[in-house]
């Protein structure tokens, strides 16, 4: 797997990196009035591409957790939210927390907070993961769902400390500062886009390295047979919690990046719906593939965008519910015809066409 996986990953980066760079340059320079929306008929915007990058970071973690280790999480948006609010609170509410302005107003403070947030959320998830991940299947799904709801309510209810007003309740936190590198402001959006995609490709590289390692092997073994993995000495509880922690840390990092992008965070962005959306993105892209992450995110964001802007043309009286129904239908179709997701399913379809009889085992873990 390590050997067969290598070239396809090189191809992935060789196509992906220039493509992302080209989009960024296009938006930075806008040569001759050309722009991303103009070239894609309004379907793609820089804003969408930044979101794809953010979700890619989360989805790589989620794919490691669900696709490789076989552990469901229906509460992943909670970690995303924890990262976002951690950054928001420690930058905007620095005074409330008696953080000296000399510190809180340096350009590097938000970066330190971002790193701390990812680390703390990852460690917390490891701690929670040890007991929770003993559960399997539906029980684990319920537990992670519960975890997500608890975090959401804590954010919404000011973590039970209304007098401090740390999370801002329903309305969340506004005025989160933009990121800087020394004196260099990472804004307008195209600059931020490059930053986000730097992290996104970093996440993909990290995911691939984990997959093609002793750790990745242990995770896939746990997925296949926990008992057999444990019987050859794989410390199953530790490994499950570790990958849960890693996926949470990645979600938290994406959350921090989101906070500094949006400059506003509200709890509703991190509730149960978004958690479910992440699982859908993961499934659509292909859980058992790291490269599925950007495709899953892009597909779902595009479908949502298209439904929101185009549905009324087909159904003039369509309301919000129709969007949800159409969205659901599209998902059902994708799952019926490409049950392994777009990347794995698509690759298999390509390979099955020109009499290339490469047999894939069902539920095979194609690297990359």
């Amino acid at each position: 797997m390590g050997r067969t996986g290598f070239p396809s990953n090189v191809i992935g980066f060789a196509i992906g990196v220039p493509l992302i760079l080209a989009i960024g340059m296009l938006e930075a320079l806008r040569p001759m009035g050309l722009s991303l929306p103009a070239l894609t008929g309004g379907l793609l915007t820089l804003d969408t591409m930044i979101r794809v990058g953010l979700f890619t970071i989360i989805l790589v973690g989620l794919n490691l957790l669900m696709g490789y280790a076989g552990q469901v999480s229906l509460g992943q948006a909670a970690f995303y939210g924890m990262g976002a609010f951690f950054s928001a609170i420690l930058t905007v509410r620095a005074r409330t927390l008696s953080i000296p302005p000399a510190l809180a107003e340096t350009w590097w403070w938000p970066w330190v907070v971002m790193g701390m947030g990812a680390l703390l959320v990852g460690m917390a998830a490891y701690g929670i993961g040890r007991p929770i991940l003993r559960l399997r299947g539906h029980y684990l799904a319920m537990a992670t769902l519960g975890l997500g709801i608890v975090v959401y309510i804590l954010l919404r209810e000011n973590m039970g400390l209304p007098h401090l007003n740390l999370t801002g309740g329903f309305d969340g936190i506004q005025g989160i500062p933009r990121l800087r590198l020394g004196g260099f402001l990472l804004w307008p959006a195209w600059r931020y886009y490059f930053l986000v995609w730097l992290f996104a490709f970093g996440a993909i590289a990290l995911g691939l390295r984990v997959v093609h390692s002793r750790v990745g092997r242990a995770l896939r073994a746990i997925h296949g047979s926990e008992i057999a993995a444990e019987s050859v000495g794989v410390e199953v509880p530790h490994y499950k919690a570790m990958i849960f922690g890693l996926s949470a840390a990645m979600a938290a990092l994406a959350g921090s990046l989101y906070a500094h992008f949006q400059t506003t965070v509200i709890p509703a962005t991190f509730g149960f719906g978004p958690s479910l959306e992440l699982v859908v993105m993961s499934a659509v892209g292909g859980m058992t593939s790291i490269w599925g992450a950007p495709f899953g995110a892009l597909t779902i964001l595009l479908v949502q965008e298209a439904l929101r802007t185009q549905l009324h043309r087909v159904l003039p009286n369509a309301q919000g519910e129709f969007e949800a129904i159409a969205f659901g239908l599209i998902l059902v179709l994708i799952m019926m015809f490409l049950p392994d997701g777009l990347t794995v399913g698509g690759l298999r379809w390509l390979q099955s066409r020109p009499r290339l009889h490469i047999r894939f085992a069902r539920r095979s873990f194609k690297p990359g």
Partner: protein, 278 residues
């Protein structure tokens, strides 16, 4: 092939010998069902011990107790003189007990080589950080693990299947692969749960040869098997379970004649034992 070491449960084989594994008055209840009642067993280093008994006698349950998947209701299990009760399975594996499964437990989607690499898991250390940074130490370790895995594959005759998905192997080879995976942990004691089930005669001969040669190299084996000729030919001592109780123990020639054993198996024919697998 019989008894490369004289078996002496009272320790006369050597003054300082201690059993490799000692099962001491172990009972296991599943709700009201007593799957094992007061079972005591000793396995001596270098031995091939057979464990037989009709379906539902409690053989697999005993394996699950020894490997920490289940915990006994009462009694003690000692490995190299040390109690292993309450240890999680991965700790017990780390002590040097490996096993195969009656219902083959493979890792779907993983190749034959990868199964054996997972078997070598406990001989390397590198974790998440090593994987992400791909440090020289991690790479070196990985090379070593691969070399060891290849050696194991060659040892059991699976080298040419290395890159095949494990589930594409015929059952006979899947069972050999389970042995290879267990072997890669470098155990001192191997628990084989019906390794011959579902195999044809040729595959069984190959299996017997493998077990015998492993034993000749010093591996201690506890073998559960329904194929009487297979187990009688391999084991130097046989224990018989019936309804969770140890009803007989001794050399194969003696067990074959034992009236209690014959009664326990009464009405069961070889084909029935072979066909009936939990």
């Amino acid at each position: 092939m019989k008894a490369m070491l004289p078996i002496s449960p009272d320790g006369t084989g050597g003054p300082s010998r201690q059993p490799l594994l000692e099962v001491i008055r172990v009972s296991k209840a599943f709700g009201g069902l007593m799957a094992l009642v007061d079972v005591s067993l000793r396995i001596w280093p270098g031995q091939i011990k057979g464990l037989i008994g009709p379906n539902g006698a409690g053989k697999t349950t005993l394996f699950n107790l020894i490997t920490g998947i289940l915990h006994p209701t009462s009694g003690d299990i000692r490995f190299q003189g040390r109690s292993i009760i309450g240890l999680p399975p991965y700790r017990i594996a780390a002590l040097g007990i490996a096993r195969t499964f009656q219902n083959v437990q493979l890792f779907p989607g993983m190749t034959v080589l990868e199964h054996v690499l997972v078997g070598g898991h406990r001989h390397s250390r590198s974790g998440l950080l090593g994987a992400i940074l791909r440090s020289p130490r991690t790479r070196h370790e990985e090379e070593e693990t691969r070399a060891r895995a290849w050696a194991v594959l060659k040892r059991v005759g699976l080298a040419e299947w290395a890159d095949r998905p494990a589930e594409s192997l015929p059952l006979g080879l899947q069972r050999i692969l389970e042995i290879a995976r267990a072997l890669a942990t470098d155990p001192q004691l191997m628990l084989l749960d019906e390794p011959g089930a579902g195999l044809n005669l040729m595959e069984k001969a190959h299996l017997a040869e493998l077990i015998r040669s492993l034993n000749a190299e010093g591996m201690t084996v506890l073998l559960v098997e329904h194929d009487m000729s297979l187990v009688m030919g391999l084991a130097d001592e046989i224990a018989v379970l019936d309804y969770g109780q140890l009803i007989a123990e001794g050399p194969p020639e003696v067990i074959r004649q034992d009236p209690r054993v014959i009664t326990a198996y009464l009405g069961e024919e070889d084909e029935v034992w072979d066909a009936a697998r939990g």
